[in-house]
Point group: C2
């Protein structure tokens, strides 16, 4: 019923996560009403996305295709002996925004989830174990997500790293009350952690 | 901080209505992780959007660029003497989905809104007035939105059409209770209309 060029845009945008046909229609009609440079900008940016972004062969972070290794890993002011392990590349930017971390990163590429076919050998665990030796790493901070998958991955990583390097310091992000959440609404596990890991005033 | 190709996609998608930087990031990262054919499909569809869609010179509906006039207007089974007037092209498809209308459409291209610079001369009102004569129209159904702008537009249209064609039947969509809304929650204006326009059982 709709012009086929408009239908094609609705179908294509409907592939985006969380975008149903109504939202896709709204986007498509907005683009049709707007100047064609907006559609053209999106089209150009999308065409360059996969060719312009590469995975760092060392840390598995994402980087410009023109880079040899991730700029953070390449930065001489960053401490290579301190490695923070995350599940996904975008997790790096969440940590970077805190401006509180001066080490380097290692991206696992997910968390163990046998139901989704993600087993330990699909993650960049071997490369992390190799890196500990190559970069004389003193401390590995495990920053997987606080989900069942993230926890299992953390437990496995700790086991594998400890087996190979009994002296290596292995830590994980603290659990506690996040800013703005009242005690009343905090879950039991978080509250138990906050109590056990209480700090001196 | 992010690879520039990824940043470009986030910026470009952030121009879509209701898409903030977080949502744009989510879309962009999904596309980066997915096969590049998905990005390519969206890019191709967007590139063809403005060239593939044209406005019908008669009804101002949108149509394939290869069409001379809108397929609905061109359809010999559609009654050209009955014209339903809508604000926007997509309103046509809402009416078409009801499968209850056999006439043709006329798109105004908006509703009068002096605050947004949309005055009567920016709408396709003159073309509607001409069409009444050209197509020997018997009835014009005004289906502008039930907003302040839509109401003012309806009042103006009625006045202009009546001035020129005193015999023309001018109607508007009925006001009443929508399906699934209890009396308790209906607004006063809707309820007043529903009462005044009550139908025989």
């Amino acid at each position: 019923m709709l012009p086929s060029a408009l239908n094609d845009v609705i179908d294509a945008l409907g592939r985006l996560p969380g975008v149903g046909s109504r939202t896709a229609e709204r986007y498509a009609y907005f683009l049709l009403k707007s100047d064609s440079t907006i559609s053209q900008n999106i089209a150009d940016a999308l065409q360059n996305l996969h060719t312009g972004v590469k995975t760092c062969p060392k840390t598995f972070a994402i980087m410009d295709a023109s880079d040899e290794v991730s700029p953070i890993y390449d930065d001489p002011t960053r401490d290579k002996s301190l490695v923070l392990v995350v599940e996904e590349p975008l997790d790096i930017y969440a940590i970077e925004r805190t401006k509180s971390f001066t080490g380097t990163y290692h991206v696992l590429g997910g968390a163990i989830s046998p139901m989704d076919g993600i087993t330990a050998d699909k993650l960049h665990i071997k490369e992390l174990i190799d890196r500990v030796e190559e970069d004389s790493v003193n401390e590995v901070i495990i920053a997987t997500n606080p989900s069942v998958e993230g926890e299992s991955t953390a437990v496995l990583l700790e086991k594998l790293l400890h087996e190979k390097y009994p002296e290596l310091k292995i830590t994980r992000l603290a659990r506690g009350l996040p800013l703005g959440v009242s005690l009343e609404y905090a879950d039991q596990i978080t509250l138990t952690s906050a109590l056990n890991n209480r700090t001196n005033l």
